[in-house]
Symmetry: C2
Subunit: 396 residues, 2 copies
């Protein structure tokens, strides 16, 4: 095969026409335009002859004898996972992936939950090691047939990162009563240290034989205490955690599309991954809220499990927001919903979501994107064509 | 709050009882047991008093005055993304996440596709830079309203990595005719260099205004050629690529559960992510093949897009395998299916999957796991209880 041509970067349908129009109609980029941030250009190399943006690239004089430089030849490395604070806190870094971002260009709450759970899992591996089957594991629990199960998770997000952003997860755990424990997380922007979000979760020890909660064996209590955060620390203010979630009215005022659990949703345990429940919960929120608001907080109680092929009904109801939350980052007049996921008559999950609502959304404008995208005139996801797959990663 | 106790690592339901029984009944672990591989133990520290496995940990003498060491205090770092081979090839590393593994404990094909697409996207960012909206972007294409769309992807997997494994993606592109380009990938085990899988994809340039394929502008052709692999190289043997995929018979012999596109499936472009189509395709494969075989190859033609809320029908039909593939890693008597995804009358995707079938599966035994898991007696995913969420990451 002869190489005559080679491909440029791919493009995303809806972005193009608006962006092209913007570039053509103004000599300088406006606030809604695509402003190029070339990062980490190769030091010591000639600058590329083509630099963007300019009024019209057709006018640019191109010197074909000079090979263009890559826009970003050097990448920031991720630090390895590590235990800090006398081995009682675990740090892990991630670079946000393109497939973790949604139509608003920001990471989805499901992707955030995946990142938090990954750090929790690696922390467990760090403490207890990994079995030949790949699980984080401690021999004492294997012998006794005991497991820890997550019964509740609560995530608050102040700002959602975007594709390519470096984030650092800080996670630790501490006791919560005689049967359980709490795991806490902080999510930071790696480069600035800004706290992007925080989360907490409740875990209970279960005896697999009796399927009932049980106390931790003394040896396990001791080993765990050796790695628990000391002194304990809460990631979220105590006045907004551990709230009892109200039930959705019957019949439910809001009902999302019927959902089906996929084989691809099943995790190493052979059950549907927790994150799928989170995704289903959001299906019942009105379109203009989902697309035009910032999901500030989600509280989710896990009650029963499901498997591939199960049909799940996502119900919701708008409720008044918690008073404490409006002083805690949810903003003026947040929207709040309680949620229930049902498989037949079985309630799999009960949840509550709290949304920072932009003025545009409150005014009934269904903007397709986050609150930020809606308010800055972004054309994100404005495309609605029938062309084949413009790849969301901008990849080719 | 007083810390009296703190949690051990969580456990995965089905694993526990079998493993506990194994440990109790034998003094040394058998081939199906959980053998502990403690990695990277802290150098210079006292070894922990508790080491596993042993016949019964209840017999162990515990010295509570000595704090146990973490099982894995030090982690291998990931190298930053980089361009190599005169900036014509891109390398990116990933640590496999727990949520990327399925019931077989191995990474799912959907997770593999996500990793490949992420490397492709970052390669595009490296070459062209990133816009303020987060996309990989080149100003010439913005101005002309042109995009590259992926019309085909083909992945071959020799071995699927597991949670915690380090993988390296090598990716590059080269021309394919006057309208299109190919992107190629190799996926390697970072520590051993073993090639785990390989993939290729076809991209076509589309004019967003006319919605028809078009030639690349000269400037874009030149810039692309500067970063294309030279000389060109194919990741997959040419005798197994670019095959025309046959249609599924009507009525289709195999029909998966009806699937619903989720809001969480939508990518930065506002369309359903390519990887969701891949997941839906596998829904129509018989349970014993999906759960008990190694998915060796997938070929997927993208024909039309869909959006959140769309209902998708997954059809399939068993067909004879390609002769060339049986000499190319698919093994003796592979199983082969053609697939079609329909939204109403519209064909969204046509695909073909080829599976290495284990003797157990061929004999009609529905093993729940990969071919490897089925043949080594693993109890992975044998759990089927109604307990709350044992987390698939082994996290708490």
């Amino acid at each position: 095969m002869t190489v005559l041509t080679a491909p440029p970067a791919p493009w995303l349908a809806g972005q193009i026409q608006k962006s092209a129009a913007s570039f053509c109609s103004r000599s300088r980029p406006g606030p809604g335009d695509r402003v190029f941030r070339h990062q980490g250009r190769a030091a010591g190399h000639a600058r590329p002859r083509l630099s963007a943006p300019r009024a019209s690239l057709a006018e640019a004089v191109v010197d074909y004898s000079v090979r263009p430089e890559p826009a970003q030849e050097f990448w920031t490395s991720l630090e390895p996972c590590k235990m800090v604070e006398n081995k009682r806190v675990f740090l892990e870094e991630h670079r946000i992936r393109g497939n973790e971002a949604g139509p608003s260009q920001h990471v989805t709450i499901a992707a955030v939950a995946n990142i938090l759970q990954e750090a929790a899992g690696n922390h467990a591996v760090a403490m207890w090691g990994r079995s030949s089957q790949g699980f984080a594991t401690d021999p004492e629990l294997v012998e006794r047939g005991l497991i820890f199960v997550m019964t509740r998770m609560q995530i608050q997000m102040h700002r959602y990162p975007r594709w390519g952003d470096l984030v650092q997860v800080e996670t630790w755990f501490q006791a919560a009563g005689k049967l359980g424990a709490q795991r806490e997380w902080l999510l930071r922007d790696k480069l600035t240290g800004e706290v992007l979000g925080a989360a907490t979760s409740t875990w209970v020890m279960i005896n697999m034989r009796t399927r009932r909660p049980c106390r931790m064996p003394e040896l396990v209590r001791w080993k765990s205490a050796c790695f628990a955060r000391e002194p304990p620390r809460l990631a979220l203010p105590s006045d907004v955690t551990r709230a009892k979630l109200p039930a959705v009215a019957d019949p439910a005022p809001l009902r999302g599309n019927r959902q089906v659990a996929r084989r691809a949703d099943m995790d190493m345990n052979g059950h549907v991954n927790n994150v799928a429940y989170l995704a289903w919960t959001l299906e019942a929120v009105p379109e203009e809220v989902w697309a035009g608001s910032h999901l500030y907080q989600v509280e989710i109680d896990f009650k029963a499990e499901c498997h591939a092929g199960d049909v799940v009904c996502s119900l919701a109801q708008e409720v008044p927001p918690q008073e404490a939350l409006t002083h805690n980052g949810a903003g003026r007049e947040p929207a709040c919903y309680v949620h229930s996921l049902l498989r037949g008559e079985t309630e799999l999950v009960r949840a509550r979501t709290t949304w920072r609502v932009s003025d545009a959304t409150r005014g009934g404008v269904a903007a397709h994107g986050s609150a930020a995208a809606a308010s800055n005139g972004s054309a994100a996801a404005a495309s609605n064509g029938s062309a084949p797959h413009a790849n969301g990663n901008g990849a080719h």
